[in-house]
């Protein structure tokens, strides 16, 4: 193909619109799928028709041959190929991402059609930089372009004033991606609260080598009494307990936690009576104290009716005791929320009811603080395994407060970062409130549909790319970026806690522990190698 511009890789052909075009190229010059290309066009900007450079991304690449048609028999195809008459044609279909306003740092979507015959070039790095970078204050450095590793991609920190969702199937790197975001938010002074059901973020205070980093003292891990997290205090440093003072709860809260139906008045009366006795005796008591009091009353009960009520009340009290989140004192919100601090709430080891209660309690407390103006900094609420807290149908304790934050939180400075591998299992209202989305590898069609419904920006073509992503690759949409972008997440500076287990190493360790390794080696050495013949 002869070109007048040395860097032209093709020409716009056929029917082009303001949002997409097809370019004809050659086998050598044809761009790859996901490559960024640029075309010149004219747009009406602020009342004047000006030349602009439009950025587009290649969605599909096609090669066709008029000579090598499907219906031709193999022998003819072979001869045509051998005679070099295949007449290959190479095309690429590109989706327009937008163009930069000539004077403002703003991406606009073209309103005029790209003109067939226009030369197409590989997007220069300077253009991509303009699209995907922000000023130092605003930038959250998330990674680089998948197809152009030399181009760094930043997200707009202002974009986080709308909620964000990180969606990916297991193993695609969503926790890793969230870790990068947390690092960046922390460095920019953010208050980050991480709801962490599996202690995946417990090592956030360590660098990738396992040493403490300069912001380690700004990373606090709040461990519940039942935590099964695989880390020690020596490793993570700032480790504190997260507990809720049972004595601080009023009766209604206790009935709610214990799920005592409002019609069960006799049971409620029995529990109320026990609580009154406990309060009169001590300022601090636990669910175990409540169980003890009820048991004492049961032992002394004389009537059958009395015994029945006490036995029922005991069942509820024992359930609360099993929740293992209550203690004699509550963790202060002053410790959890502080400027330039990451607080990780380790919920590992808790059953689903306890987890649900703790999360709802904590988020209500945060929400109250912010609404009352008692905490003046924005709080980024990172909720891992969000599908467990805000399922589409069932009403959990935490779902109502999360939905409220999703609906109104941005007004008082609570910004959600919802993380899940099952978007189809998240309440659609909450997901649709997440205007920004970081979507990684996702193969389940139901999950793809769920995010497609939640975002008008996610086109079918973008969805089709999701199953092909490698771990750590993502598409970013929404206010956190000027234009949809496909990125490779940068390396984390902090240590990852949620990575997959190294099975080979784990099995080796198991053999060592069982002292089998030596035996196996000895046995191998004893076995004579086969010399290639079978002896007598």
């Amino acid at each position: 193909m002869s070109t007048t511009r040395s860097d032209a890789i093709g020409l716009v052909v056929g029917e082009a619109t303001s949002t997409s075009f097809v370019l004809a190229s050659t086998q050598e010059m044809c761009p790859s799928r996901l490559d960024y290309v640029a075309v010149r066009s004219r747009e009406l900007v602020d009342g004047s028709l000006v030349n602009v450079e439009i950025l587009a991304q290649v969605e599909r690449v096609m090669a066709s041959s008029d000579a090598l048609k499907q219906l031709i028999n193999y022998d003819a195809l072979r001869r045509i190929k051998q005679a070099d008459l295949d007449d290959l044609r190479n095309y690429a279909a590109a989706r327009v991402l937008g163009y930069l306003h000539p004077s403002r740092d703003e991406v606009l979507i073209p309103r005029r059609s790209i003109i067939p015959g226009t030369e197409v070039q590989i997007a220069p790095a300077s253009l991509l930089d303009s699209f995907y970078s922000y000023s130092e204050d605003e930038a959250i450095h998330i990674g680089n372009l998948i197809t152009r590793s030399e181009v760094d991609v930043s997200l707009d920190v202002s974009g986080f004033r709308r909620h964000t969702a990180i969606i990916a199937q297991t193993g695609a790197g969503k926790s890793y991606c969230a870790g990068v975001l947390i690092e960046e938010l922390l460095e920019r002074g953010g208050t980050v609260l991480v709801i962490d059901p599996h202690a995946d973020y417990a090592l956030i205070g360590m660098d990738s080598e396992g040493a403490r980093h300069e912001l380690s003292n700004r990373c606090l891990i709040f461990r519940n009494p039942a935590s099964t997290g695989r880390y020690s205090e020596r490793e993570v440093g700032n480790l504190e307990d997260y507990t809720i003072a049972f004595a601080d709860l009023d009766n209604q809260e206790i009935f709610d936690i214990a799920n005592v139906h409002q019609n069960f008045t006799r049971i409620r009366d029995t529990i109320e009576n026990a609580l009154r006795i406990l309060r009169s005796e001590n300022d601090f008591f636990t669910p175990e104290d409540l169980v003890g009091n009820l048991q004492t009353q049961l032992d002394a009960a004389t009537s059958q009716r009395e015994r029945t009520d006490l036995q029922s009340a005991l069942r509820y009290a024992r359930a609360m005791a099993r929740m293992r989140v209550f203690a004699q004192s509550s963790t202060s919100m002053d410790r959890i929320l502080a400027p330039m601090q990451v607080s990780v709430l380790d919920l590992s080891g808790l059953d689903s009811i306890s987890t649900d209660y703790v999360v709802s309690k904590l988020l209500r407390d945060v929400s109250s603080l912010l609404q009352a103006g008692d905490y003046s900094h924005p709080v980024f609420l990172v909720i891992e395994e969000a599908h467990n807290f805000i399922p589409p149908e069932a009403n959990t304790r935490s779902s109502s407060i999360i939905k409220r934050i999703a609906g109104e939180g941005r007004k008082f400075g609570a910004f959600l970062v919802v993380i899940s591998q099952r978007p189809s299992k998240i309440h659609p209202d909450t997901l649709s409130q997440c205007n920004s989305q970081i979507i990684m590898k996702l193969t389940n069609p139901n999950d793809q549909d769920a995010i497609a419904k939640s975002s008008e920006m996610l086109s079918r073509d973008l969805l089709d790319n999701l199953p092909g992503f490698n771990p750590g690759e993502a598409v970013v949409l929404g206010p956190i970026t000027k234009a949809p972008v496909m990125i490779k997440i940068r390396e984390r500076r902090t240590r990852e806690g949620g990575a997959d287990i190294n099975v080979v190493e784990a099995l080796r360790a198991a053999r060592r522990e069982a002292s089998i390794e030596t035996t196996v080696d000895q046995d191998r050495q004893r076995t004579e190698p086969f010399d290639g013949t079978f002896g007598e």
């Binding site: 028999n73 022998d75 001869r79 008459l85 007449d87």
Partner: protein
């Protein structure tokens, strides 16, 4: 449309026998009887079958298109391509022919323009790539059989002279560079082989005649078999005389003369009488008697010929002497044009035959185009030609991979002409190009 189907079925059923006879033409038994044995003697196995297309083969083809404009004038476009591997040579020509031209004259003019461009493109392609063979679409003999006359288009009176110059340039270039020219015709309607076989059969029939059989009958019959057109009365006389003088053989001779008057094509004959893969014995072709006499008149007295056949061109010319000189130069070159060797081949048992033309020098024969008075068998030891043909054979749809590709690439689509080229024309001329209403009425976008 299904509404017509019952009536259609009825039409077919009413005349079923006629249908079958019409399709078969009921000629197979006659052909078999008259020519079957000699035809099979003419049919040979392929000397070589290659599974690999050879390198250095150029395929060429052209395409033509025209539109009648609202003013009645004809806008025409011809284009051609020569391709070899990934290399392409493309030429295009376009122009306006005036209104008032007879349709058949214009169509003749356009087809000559296209063939001329094909020759130029082939020659240009040969100069750009290192080739051993060049393939032409159609008959090489047919390209040389035009009587050299002036063109009906006033602005292009010497078209045929230019045309002959280009094909002679191509032939000379190939001969000098030892490049084989292979003209491939997939739907030839030529009758050289049928006439040749009929003439042989006729000679056999006359050999069985009494010695006193009229020489006049022999001569007339031979002329008919050579393609000469005789008036109906002469034919009737010929039949009457034949019956009277040739005794019991009169019917066979009559049938052979009838075959000479309305011969089946060589390919039809082959479909009936020659089965399987193979090729026919090559024939050195002789010109049609009428065309030959034109050529001979031009060669022997070019001045007189020019005056009669280029009357307008000479009259319109400012320098008539230069025009005559120009005509004479081309005619002299044409006189040296090689004779053409032709054969048919079938490369797959279920395929239709291909006609192949080669210049005589490719088979070590030095005869000129005008020299053979009647077609004659000639030895052809060019297995390499069969290597090209069989190596490039890709089945019924791809009878020759180079030619099929060239055809696809040269073909002018309606969209190309009506949108792309028309837009260019309008832009360059700065005026709207409107087609005549008849054309627009059948325009289905």
């Amino acid at each position: 449309m299904p509404e017509y189907l019952p009536q259609l079925i009825e039409c077919i059923r009413e005349n079923r026998e006629d249908w079958i006879a019409g399709i078969d033409r009921s000629i197979d038994s006659a052909l078999e009887e008259l020519l079957g044995e000699s035809a099979r003697a003419f049919w040979h196995d392929l000397p070589v079958e290659s599974a690999t297309p050879p390198d250095g083969v150029i395929g060429t083809d052209g395409s033509q298109s025209d539109r009648i404009l609202w003013s009645g004038s004809h806008w025409w476009v011809v284009r051609a391509v020569a391709l070899c591997g990934k290399h392409r040579t493309r030429l295009i020509d376009t122009g306006i022919a005036p209104s008032g031209l007879r349709d058949q004259d214009f169509q003749w003019y356009l087809s000559v323009k296209m063939e001329e461009l094909e020759h130029k493109t082939a020659l240009e392609g040969l100069k750009q790539v290192d080739a051993e063979y060049v393939l032409l679409d159609g008959s090489l003999f047919g390209r040389l059989q035009h009587p050299p006359v002036e063109s009906p288009v006033p602005s292009d009176r010497f078209l045929l002279l230019d045309y002959f110059d280009t094909i002679l340039d191509l032939l000379e270039y190939c001969r000098n560079k030892n490049i084989g020219i292979i003209a491939v015709s997939k739907d030839s309607r030529a009758r050289h082989l049928v006439r040749h076989l009929a003439r042989s059969a006729m000679n056999g029939a006359f050999n069985d005649m009494p010695a006193g059989t009229s020489a006049k009958i022999r001569m007339k019959a031979a002329e008919v078999l050579q393609g000469k057109r005789l008036p109906d009365e002469e034919i009737e006389d010929l039949f009457t005389n034949t019956r009277q003088e040739t005794g019991k053989n009169w019917r066979n001779i009559e049938r052979l003369v009838e075959l000479g008057i309305q011969p089946v094509s060589d390919h039809v004959l082959m479909q009936y009488l020659m089965r399987g893969k193979g090729y026919t014995s090559p024939l050195l072709l002789s010109m049609n008697p009428d065309t030959r006499s034109n050529f001979m008149a031009a060669f022997t007295d070019s001045m007189t010929y020019s005056r009669s056949r280029f009357r307008n061109a000479i009259k319109e010319a400012e320098d008539q002497r230069a025009v005559r000189k120009r005509i004479s130069a081309t005619l002299k070159r044409l006189e040296r044009a090689p004779a053409i060797v032709s054969f048919h081949t079938r490369l797959h048992p279920r395929d239709t035959p291909l006609r192949i033309d080669l210049p005589s020098w490719m088979v070590e024969d030095k005869k000129k185009l005008w020299e053979p008075l009647q077609s004659e068998e000639i030895a052809c030891n060019r297995d390499d030609v069969f290597e090209v043909l069989t190596g490039g054979y890709g089945g019924l749809q791809n009878y020759n991979i180079w030619q099929v590709r060239a055809d696809a690439q040269a073909r002018l689509s309606r969209e190309t002409v009506d949108s792309l080229y028309r837009d260019v024309l309008e832009k360059e001329l700065g005026m709207r190009i409107e087609f005549e209403r008849g054309y627009r009425r059948v325009y289905y976008p």
